[in-house]
């Protein structure tokens, strides 16, 4: 867990009906680091009796804005314990922030920039626009929203609008979005780079259209919000399985399932869905702690550790003895 630093909510306002904007100032009143456009910061969401949940939110800071971090967070009514908690944050409350990282930087070699934002995807793209505007670089910002009232941080887009570089597309359906993108991505100029951030299907559409229009691979950059959270224990490691009835023992390599390892050792187990859902391969655990990857066992059964679905689940201990 990287070092965390306490911040205080200095200001909170609704920049659109379902996007809350925050200014978070460091509790120790020291300046925040210079923000590279496209960067995000880790939010530590405290949960009673459980490890904190880590969520990444893009920073909307303009160049030189170092007294506070600025965020825009869309309210997901029932998100995975992330944004709904954040919307209960009030001014004056403290929250712990972690490392600042940038997986979505502006290309240094680019001579022209095409910024594509879908809905809440505006946050990192906004930081880029403000930086490019400050350096009077050559760029265009195309912002796709459901309706006028959904344009976020209007006050930070005023200069881009004045220069005629802001193009807001409201209320287009999937086909309408595709048509606009087909026009924008048609024939990239030399040294032109495109940056895209938004919901999954929006980014997939940009990807499809860009490929169809032969946009160079290295000139197309995405900020995928659903960055797969790196759960420490998701890295598999090999282990041994012993079948108590036959006494045979076999090694389950990384990327191999218990069923496959056993089949290789000549022991067939009846499976059906092979996705850890149907329960056909349900097996008793004699000893060892199973690493459950199924969607079948109840919480109690999981915690008891006496049952396992060998088609997907693994072992936390080097040896797992099964009633087979």
């Amino acid at each position: 867990m990287s070092a965390t630093r306490p911040f205080v909510v200095r200001r909170k306002w609704m920049t659109t009906p379902d996007v809350a904007a925050f200014e978070l100032a460091p509790a120790d009143d020291l300046a925040v680091p210079e923000i590279e456009p496209g960067a995000h910061v880790e939010f530590m969401i405290e949960r009673a009796g459980q490890p904190p949940l880590v969520r990444h939110y893009s920073l909307c800071n303009a160049p030189g804005e170092r007294d506070a971090f600025v965020f825009g967070i869309k309210l997901e009514p029932q998100s995975r314990g992330g944004s709904s908690w954040i919307h209960t944050l009030e001014t004056g409350q403290t929250v712990k922030l972690g490392a600042v990282r940038n997986l979505f930087p502006l290309s240094q070699s680019a001579r022209r920039h095409l910024l594509l934002a879908g809905g809440i995807g505006i946050t990192p793209v906004l930081a880029m626009a403000q930086a490019l505007e400050a350096n009077s670089a050559e760029y265009q910002l195309h912002y796709f929203v459901r309706g006028e009232e959904h344009v976020a941080f209007r006050e930070r887009l005023e200069r881009a609008q004045a220069q005629g570089r802001l193009h807001v597309h409201t209320g287009l359906d999937a086909a309408g979005v595709r048509a606009v993108l087909a026009d924008l991505l048609d024939g990239p100029a030399a040294g032109e780079h495109a940056y895209c951030c938004g919901p999954g299907f929006f980014m997939d559409t940009v990807d499809e259209v860009a490929q169809a229009k032969h946009w160079p691979e290295e000139g197309l950059h995405f900020e995928r919000f659903q960055a797969a959270p790196v759960a420490a224990d998701a890295i598999d490691d090999a282990f041994e399985v012993e079948l108590s009835r036959s006494g045979t023992r076999c090694r389950v390599e990384v990327g191999q399932t218990i069923i496959q390892a056993m089949a290789a050792a000549g022991c067939e187990v009846i499976t059906s869905c092979e996705q850890g859902v149907c329960g056909t391969c349900l097996t008793n655990v004699i000893s060892g702690t199973p690493d459950h990857r199924d969607a079948y066992l109840s919480k109690a059964e999981r915690e008891a550790g006496k049952l396992i679905l060998p088609c997907v689940s693994r072992s936390k201990a080097p040896l797992l003895i099964l009633d087979l």
Binding site: S272, C273, E274, Q275
Partner: protein, 232 residues
């Protein structure tokens, strides 16, 4: 409803389920009926016919209400796709998960002969599936129609014999209908319903065709009368 009655009469392993031209390559799915077993039949782009149990292994949905998408059968409920071998090739709701390799639609031995699609009721029964599909016996040049008859196959056979038809092969009778040389192939759909697939030895003139079809309707009426008088 879906369990085959069992194959008592060895000679009826193969039955004519529907005319070959009913199945258009990679286009439609047609229901077939064989001794109580409901079938879903379709033809691949390459022309091969599949005869499957009419039930998706996921949630039991009839495959006949699905559609053919890029030469695979796509189930109407969740869009699971099955290739010509009956293997599951797509689960749209979980595209990134490995597909269950052993998941198979139950398929029946199928062959095409005499312009008909023949299916063996003995799925998986090794002995039966060895039985060679029937070779052409009667002259089957012109398909007239499939006649749905609300009577057991036995009653239809009895009526065919009564009207001078002769049994000349597995499920096959030959005789004349309204003066035209005809071959009738019987398909025991269920214990109470039979399909009679009527062929003529040559293409008839329009008037002759209409007479033959009228005769078929009368034949159906006579069989159904015989069946209902016996049962009531």
């Amino acid at each position: 409803m879906n369990s085959p009655i069992g194959v008592e009469m060895q000679s009826q392993i193969w039955q004519p389920v529907l005319p070959s031209h009913y199945l258009r390559a990679s286009k439609n799915i047609v229901a077939g009926f064989l001794q109580g077993q409901e079938l879903a039949l379709w033809r691949s782009e390459a022309g091969a016919v599949q005869a499957w149990e009419n039930r998706c292994p996921h949630r039991g949905t009839r495959l006949t209400i699905g559609r053919i998408l890029n030469d695979q059968l796509s189930c109407a409920y969740h869009g699971w796709e099955f290739d010509t071998r009956g293997g599951c090739t797509a689960i749209p709701a979980n595209p990134s998960l490995p597909l269950p390799k052993q998941l198979r639609v139950k398929s029946f031995p199928v062959a095409e002969a005499d312009g008909m699609v023949w299916v063996s009721a003995a799925a998986g029964n090794a002995a039966a599936s060895q039985a060679l599909p029937p070779t052409s016996t009667g002259a089957l040049a012109f398909f007239c129609r499939s006649l749905g008859i609300r009577a057991p196959m036995g009653d239809v056979a009895t009526e065919l014999n009564a009207q001078g038809f002769k049994a000349t092969g597995a499920q096959t009778w030959e005789g004349t209908l309204a003066g035209q040389a005809a071959t009738v192939l019987l398909n025991e759909a269920t214990s109470l319903r039979t399909f009679a697939h009527v062929w003529l030895s040559e293409e008839p003139a329009a008037a002759a065709l209409s007479d033959v079809l009228a005769k078929c309707r009368l034949f159906r009426r006579d069989v159904e009368a015989r069946a209902s008088s016996r049962s009531s």
